[in-house]
């Protein structure tokens, strides 16, 4: 399903624009250069390069197993790469790990803490690992865990545990915050609260790297996004820039109900409709990406009438990051 011949040009365009911007901007907070990480026969990260600028929110998107966590954990100094280099604040992560770690805040994809220490004690303990630590009360307030100060981690709900993990990432007033799926398992309020925290951090000049499987979140939060698949960056740009790659001004989604005796129009047929840039089959629906909404819609309705099928749940929306993502990675993200 994947339109592979388009990928190189997509990646190429994005990198060129990225490089132009880098020259004007101050030096990068993070520079990842030709990174490779293998686990036995699996190559999790295959020659991956990108950089993160001061005060920007950089998103890593990609399907499960794309290599996001592997990449991030190398930047965090937890895993060692097989080849390639990572510089944070201009320091080499392999040689000056601790100096870097003192200035970085980290939320792992899943965080396990000492079961015998309370929330408050855990925050205090982690604070002692750094030269400067924020007051525990303040951190608790920031992630709305004041009531749970004396609870043990295993007695927290999943979302509360996520928030504790976030508080741990903020304990040392970091200059760079790396969050691996920080909003997974959060309720809508907590999610929005986290977005606020992230945006406040950016206002203070903190650079942020985050991964997420929520496309709306990435679109709202991220200044730049790299889409990763099979350990490689297949596109890198601003959310708007990525969406522009689709070359479509609208997405038309619908379900086809086929009465007995009638035959459903296939993907090839709808691709021929006027204005259609691309078409793909979703879980139980078809999606058309079009440059000219009206002619496409009219032709679509004619086609349906002619074939004797009905269209249900017909929806029209402006293309989103999710559409780009599905187009580039060729699969539904959370299926």
């Amino acid at each position: 399903m994947r339109i592979s011949h388009e990928n190189p040009s997509v990646g190429g365009v994005a990198r060129v624009s990225g490089a132009t911007l880098t020259r004007a901007a101050p030096p990068s907070v993070v520079r990842v250069d030709h990174l490779v990480k293998r686990y036995g026969a699996t190559t999790a990260v295959a020659d991956l390069s990108f950089s993160v600028r001061p005060g920007e929110i950089f998103g890593l998107l990609g399907p499960n197993g794309a290599g996001k966590t592997s990449t991030i954990e190398i930047i965090e100094g937890i895993r060692t790469p097989d080849s390639g280099t990572v510089e944070v604040f201009g320091l080499d992560i392999q040689r000056q790990r601790r100096a870097i770690q003192g200035r970085v805040g980290v939320q792992l994809q899943s965080t396990t803490l000492f079961p015998e220490l309370t929330v408050q004690e855990t925050l205090g303990l982690f604070g002692s690992f750094y030269p400067h630590a924020r007051p525990v009360r303040e951190l608790l307030r920031e992630v709305a865990l004041e009531e749970k100060a004396h609870a043990f981690p295993q007695d927290l709900s999943g979302g509360q545990r996520q928030r504790l993990a976030l508080a741990l990432a903020l304990v040392n007033e970091p200059e760079l915050v790396i969050l691996d799926e920080p909003t997974t398992g959060l309720d809508p309020q907590s999610r929005r609260a986290l977005w606020d925290i992230i945006q406040q951090l950016r206002q203070r000049g903190v650079a942020i790297i985050l991964t997420t499987h929520f496309m709306d979140e990435a679109q709202i939060l991220c200044d730049r996004i790299a889409i990763v698949d099979h350990g490689q960056i297949i596109a890198e740009d601003t959310p708007a820039g990525l969406i522009a790659l689709l070359g479509a001004s609208a997405a038309i989604a619908f379900q086809v109900v086929v009465p007995t005796g009638a035959t459903a129009p296939d993907l090839a047929m709808v691709r021929q409709l006027p204005g259609v840039e691309d078409a793909r089959a979703g879980l139980d629906q078809l999606i058309l990406y079009t440059r000219q909404t009206e002619p496409t819609l009219i032709a679509l309705l004619h086609l349906a009438e002619h074939a004797g099928v009905t269209l249900e749940h017909l929806q029209l929306h402006t293309p989103t990051l999710e559409d780009v993502f599905i187009k580039l990675t060729g699969r539904q993200l959370r299926s």
Binding site: G77, I78, A99, G102, E116, E121
Partner: protein, 355 residues
């Protein structure tokens, strides 16, 4: 330093909340003491083996040897100086006493010298020998014979099984409680606690030091509790200096912790770490002389028992508790334990892995 103190207090807090762990290791020691205490009570004795050499061959010496042969507190073997000393070297005897030619005459003259040979290289055997010879001399002196031992005078303690066992149980408890740190380390790694710590600038050495300090505090308390139970319930006398005793408990604890950290660094699964810990501690419990003296072990076992840190820990504890030994008397054991700590910690730091 701030990190170390904070981490140590957190570790102590964690131990305090982990009641099961504290109770199980202390429980093993107490249960053993209670079981052996009830089994043997005040009656059971370690029967020492004493070599007797009669070079005087007078009716008096013959009579003395006969009275010794009937004694229930000591087993004797009679032979020439050469054969008996050989037997001592082969660890079949705890001591050899000699009645040299002219012994009877000297006795009549009011001051007889009696040379005594101990196996100095084996502290446990030496301890038993010292006590035994004193007992024997006391028996002989029952008829008011003026005998002087040609070794320094020592206080005479009647060593019961329970007295002998108490230091061994302390040693065993220190081993079980502290080798287990390896399994804990591995399980922290497996569940991902170590991964989160690895993302901070915390140094492995500080984590190890803090963990050791917390465990040391716990071990000192556990040893004290065990000792108090032994002293109060079973009236086990403690002759030595308590400060010296605490010092030896400290060395023993650190030795076991260092070995535990090595196990923790070299294994990936808690079950494996646990199995290795068991494989190490179970034989060591017996070969290290926790339950019975290993002095009579076959000669080829000597290098093994002498290698085991628990042997030296138990010996030092026995010397202090049962015999009131000074530092000088246990310095060999102390040096061996310190060597274990230094080398063990070096290896442990090298073997350490976050993830």
């Amino acid at each position: 330093m701030r990190t170390y103190l904070r981490l140590t207090s957190s570790m102590i807090q964690m131990l305090r909340r982990n009641v099961a762990l504290v109770l199980s290791s202390l429980g093993l020691g107490i249960v053993s003491i209670l079981a052996f205490g009830l089994l043997f009570g005040n009656g059971g004795n370690v029967t020492p083996q004493l070599g007797v050499v009669d070079e005087d061959q007078t009716p008096l010496t013959t009579q003395m040897i006969q009275s010794l042969a009937h004694s229930t507190t000591v087993h004797i073997s009679i032979g020439s100086r050469a054969t008996e000393i050989d037997a001592l070297r082969g660890a079949h005897l705890n001591a050899v006493i000699i009645m040299p030619a002219g012994f009877t005459a000297a006795l009549m003259g009011g001051n007889a010298q009696m040379p005594v040979y101990y196996d100095q290289s084996n502290p446990t055997s030496w301890l038993i020998a010292q006590v035994t010879v004193q007992q024997v001399v006391q028996q002989l002196s029952g008829v008011h014979l003026p005998i002087t031992l040609q070794t320094q005078a020592i206080s005479v303690h009647n060593l019961r099984t329970i007295d002998f066992l108490t230091p061994g149980m302390i040693g065993m408890m220190l081993m079980w409680a502290n080798l287990g740190i390896g399994t804990i380390l591995v399980s922290w790694r497996q569940v991902g606690i170590m991964r989160r710590l690895a993302a901070t600038p915390l140094r492995p050495g500080i984590l190890i030091a803090a963990q050791m300090s917390a465990r040391l505090l716990l071990s000192l308390i556990q040893a004290a509790m065990l000792l108090v139970i032994a002293m109060t319930v079973f009236k086990v006398p403690v002759y030595g200096n308590l400060g010296l005793l605490a010092g030896v408990v400290t060395l023993g604890t650190l030795t076991m912790l260092a070995i535990g950290f090595i196990i923790g660094g070299l294994t990936a699964k808690p079950e494996v770490a646990n199995a290795i810990t068991f494989l190490i501690s179970f034989p060591m419990m017996f070969l290290g002389g926790s339950y019975f003296s290993v002095d009579n072990a076959p000669a080829f076992m000597r290098p093994v028992t002498q290698f085991l840190p628990l042997t030296h820990l138990n010996d030092a504890l026995r010397q202090i508790i049962n015999n009131g030994a000074s530092f000088a008397a246990i310095q060999n054991d102390v040096f061996v334990l310190i060597a274990w700590i230094v080398l063990g910690s070096l290896v442990a730091t090298r073997a350490f892995r976050w993830v």
